[in-house]
């Protein structure tokens, strides 16, 4: 069973939202609605997330991603469509049941941290447990574990104003982890942080995820971030423009909107040896140096340059999958890799001019 499943989900803000959804279904464009003071934030989302997956929703501001994440825990009610958490339809729950679901199944990390300024780090982390109704010694004990997990041991008694942005967000993360829910919603969680700290936090999140295997929905407007941490990425602009792995988006963008986004992504970090390799054909590969299939391209430069022969890409069982040459690497870094035939046709057209 998927951890989260949404089915033809719509959210329109403004008067006459229901009618607007019907119109959207009939194919009326989003721009026409905005002329009538209706904002279509989420249009026809259909997807499911398996437990343990990091699902990234990526979009510019105004693309409805914050609305989407708030619908997943019922803070905002959808205009149409259903959301199921572990098979339970959110729309069928009473307010009380919904609160219980939030306490037990879903926690959230916020862009601007949303900490209580008058409470210490430890008390902030224990906040979710306090709502759950745990006794004070027990919740402080569990909060202490979560604080250690995010690497803030020693800062338990500080107040939020005494922490840097990165540390504050660690507290936000610890608060969500302490609640010990299967699902973690992260709303632009790292967007307010400096680039270096942001990268550090991304690494830490991946590290924690390897240990804890939560189901994570991560909202971001930064495609590099999305590709770094996401198992799957949904590029949104009201509707889902494309959903797939980082490689899918880079190598097979669904439309110009997605292609434009992916244009300034650091491709060498996202693409792996497997994605750029060429078939080995009948060549004798036994003499070639080998490389694992999931190594990113930017770690292939040195081995490729240091040997005359191509690199042999192998999977976990050491079976050969293909070969990587300097040519295949350079080809992969070009923003719009069409087929070879197309490229030749392009260059011939270009020559006379």
């Amino acid at each position: 069973m998927p951890a989260i499943a949404v089915d033809s989900l719509y959210k329109v803000f403004g008067k006459g939202a229901k009618a607007a959804v019907t119109q959207l279904k009939e194919g009326v464009p989003r721009s026409e609605l905005s002329g009538r003071n209706l904002t279509a934030a989420v249009i026809d989302h259909n997807w499911a997330i398996e437990p343990g997956e990091i699902f990234v929703v990526m979009g510019l501001s105004g693309s409805g991603k914050s609305t989407l994440i708030r619908m997943l825990n019922g803070l905002i009610k959808p205009t149409a469509g259903t959301i199921e958490i572990d098979g339970v339809d959110l729309g069928s729950l009473s307010a009380r049941e919904l609160r219980r679901l939030r306490r037990e199944k879903i926690s959230m990390v916020f862009q601007h941290f949303a900490l209580l300024p008058h409470r210490t780090v430890l008390e902030n982390v224990a906040f979710g447990l306090e709502i759950k109704g745990l006794s004070k010694p027990e919740r402080l004990e569990r909060a202490r574990e979560a604080v250690e997990l995010v690497g803030l041991a020693g800062d338990e008694d500080k107040l939020p104003v005494q922490l840097s942005g990165g540390m504050k967000q660690r507290v936000g993360l610890a608060r969500a982890l302490a609640a010990d829910t299967e699902i973690l919603l992260m709303d632009e969680a790292f967007s307010a942080l400096d680039p270096l700290i942001r990268q550090e936090m991304q690494d830490q999140l991946l590290e924690l995820q390897a240990k804890l295997a939560k189901t994570i929905v991560f909202i971001t407007h930064d495609l590099n971030e999305a590709m770094r941490i996401g198992d799957r990425i949904a590029v949104c602009d009201g509707e889902v423009k494309q959903m797939g792995t980082a490689e899918d988006l880079l190598l097979r963008p669904a439309d110009d909107y997605v292609a434009e986004f992916t244009a300034d992504v650091d491709r060498s970090r996202v693409l792996t040896a497997e994605a750029v390799m060429e078939p080995c054909g009948t060549t004798d590969t036994s003499e070639f140096a080998t490389v694992e299939s999931d190594v990113p391209v930017n770690e292939l430069y040195e081995p490729v340059l240091s040997s005359d022969a191509p690199l042999l890409v192998v999977n976990d069982n050491a079976d050969p999958l293909g070969v990587v040459t300097t040519r295949s690497i350079i080809k992969s870094l070009a923003p719009d890799p069409g087929s070879d035939d197309e490229r030749e046709a392009d260059s011939q057209e270009a020559q006379p001019a």
Partner: protein
């Protein structure tokens, strides 16, 4: 032509109209209330008077010398020795004039009026913050309460309760309550939306969110509102004195009547010293709220 129209309008339309009987309606309403709801007003009067006299008696129970020490000690506890020195010296001056007893009566009146105003203002403020319709209805009502000249509603209050302390206290409550309501609403509305969302996202009930998140975060603003409530209440004591409210107000009113500069000055100084004491102690309390303390750490 214009001249002609105006004259015609004046002579045949406007002048024959009877006077607007708004005031008469109010008058008959008050008279009706006085007879039909007499037990209610008597009950309110007994309640307010017993509260006021109990507090005034308590303040006058100890000799003035000891009370000065208590006031200074309070100032020291919430703010520090500087304020304690100022308050001690000020109260000493008051105790030296013949107006110590009336100063304590006025303090009792201010405390009773602001205490009741606070008990009313904070729930109303919460209602206004949580409910847009309530807020819309309340805004003109609060404007009305604050801008209507105090003398105007002093009259009906006197008619309902007779002359004495009660109309003074009620008029004071009406006059001083609006900033308490307004700043409670403002404080609650200013609470970081994301923090409230966080509480909701972790499954907090609306009541718990209000008590454990919104109110603590709004407390510094609410305290600022209460400070204004107290200052407004103090400014009403003179007007309350005109209807037999007792205390310094009565002294000032009688000094005004007899052009007794010495008496007026003494009573006036006592009001100022009370104001300094109450204002600074409230400020000190506001600075001691957890949120305000956390904010000071940031500096």
């Amino acid at each position: 032509m214009i001249q002609y129209t105006r004259d015609w309008f004046w002579t045949y339309v406007w002048k024959p109209l009877p006077d607007m009987p708004l005031g008469q309606w109010m008058d008959s309403l008050i008279r009706w209330l006085r007879t039909a709801w007499a037990p209610l007003f008597d009950g309110v009067e007994t309640f307010l008077e017993s509260l006021y006299f109990a507090l005034a008696d308590a303040l006058l129970w100890l000799p003035s010398g000891l009370m000065i020490l208590i006031f200074a000690g309070l100032a020291f506890a919430v703010k520090g020795w500087k304020l304690a020195a100022v308050v001690g010296a000020g109260m000493f001056v008051v105790a030296w004039t013949p107006y110590w007893d009336n100063t304590m009566s006025t303090l009792a009146m201010v405390v009773v009026a602001t205490g009741l105003a606070t008990l009313l203002a904070i729930p109303i403020g919460i209602l206004a913050a949580e409910n847009r319709a309530a807020s819309t209805v309340l805004r003109p009502v609060l404007d009305f309460m604050q801008t209507l000249p105090a003398f105007v509603y002093l009259l009906p209050v006197v008619m309902l309760f007779g002359v004495g302390e009660t109309p003074g206290i009620i008029a004071t409550i009406i006059f001083c309550m609006p900033p308490g309501v307004r700043l409670t609403e403002l404080g609650l509305r200013q609470v970081d939306r994301e923090v409230v969302e966080a509480a909701q996202a972790f499954g907090s009930s609306p009541a718990r969110t209000l008590l454990r998140v919104k109110l603590p975060l709004a407390l510094p603003t609410i305290m600022a509102g209460l400070n204004q409530v107290i200052m407004l209440a103090l400014s009403m004591v003179v007007i309350a004195g005109m209807v037999g409210g007792g205390g310094l107000g009565e002294d000032i009113v009688s000094a005004l009547g007899r052009v007794d500069i010495a008496k007026g000055f003494n009573a006036g100084i006592a009001v100022v010293i009370l104001a300094i004491f109450l204002d600074r102690v409230m400020q000190g309390l506001a600075e001691r709220t957890p949120v305000a303390k956390a904010a000071q750490l940031a500096r």
